[in-house]
Symmetry: C2
Subunit: 149 residues, 2 copies
């Protein structure tokens, strides 16, 4: 039997979060954290609203998932995030010992791969899931933003 809860399923949920960020005028990045096919955190970028550079979707998701689990380690969890995490978020994911990271679009400028950030040795990484959708949303955001200014 096919498991309907695959990486694409959960990335769609992360994309829905990214769209919520878009509607608020935030750079549209969304994330969910999943344990045993269950979503335990849903977040999107809130750096503008909160006036806080640390309010990336992933950071909030880590805090929220740890709060749900009652422990700070996420070693049985998977993060789905629409954009490749930055140094800060990858550094937080390192500390969280998360089991798996699935991201959509690559960030060749400020993504953790380009920046050389170290993840936990037990963390698996999958990239490119619904990358075009995530990337199109980002492009639309920056075009609209440019047109407004």
């Amino acid at each position: 039997m096919i498991n309907p809860f695959d990486d694409t399923y959960f990335m769609k949920k992360a994309l829905q979060e990214a769209e919520m960020a878009f509607e608020k005028g935030e750079i549209p990045v969304g994330a969910v954290i999943v344990i045993e096919d269950r979503i335990i955190a849903r977040t999107h970028n809130l750096t503008e609203l909160l006036n806080d550079v640390t309010a990336h979707a992933e950071m909030q998701a880590i805090t929220s998932a740890a709060n749900f689990l009652g422990g700070k380690y996420l070693n049985k969890c998977t993060l789905y995030v629409t954009l490749e995490p930055c140094q800060m978020c990858a550094g937080a994911l390192y500390w969280s010992q998360i089991s798996k990271i699935v991201f959509g679009a690559s960030d060749t400028q400020r993504g953790f791969k380009t920046m050389g950030t170290t993840l936990h040795p037990k963390t698996e990484v999958v990239s490119g899931v619904l990358a075009e959708e995530a990337s199109a949303l980002m492009k639309r955001f920056f075009i609209e933003k440019r047109n407004l200014n």
Copy 2:
């Protein structure tokens, strides 16, 4: 006239925060953020209490200072922190565009220098201020912790 508000003065304040962390059973790291000789954020590590790997002293200090200033960029601020920041905190400091980072003890295992985290090009870094005091506090913490277990 000698300015009494030098790096040592503010690092002492960060060390007081580290001591507060120690008393709570947290890895003793403290931080303050200063603008024009005025402390606008005082924080210490709270990862155990909050069950949150993102609750490092620096992360809280960035959020707190931005909240005080009403803007997310800290480009006129200096961070004083008793221990060399990790990848996550250095990544957050990159986004904050902070003017200056002064740290005490080096963290040769997980500090941003060893890990190769990129700071903002305008960020100045000073290291080793009251390093022995910060280092001694860390050592005392881990010895006491080992003896309790």
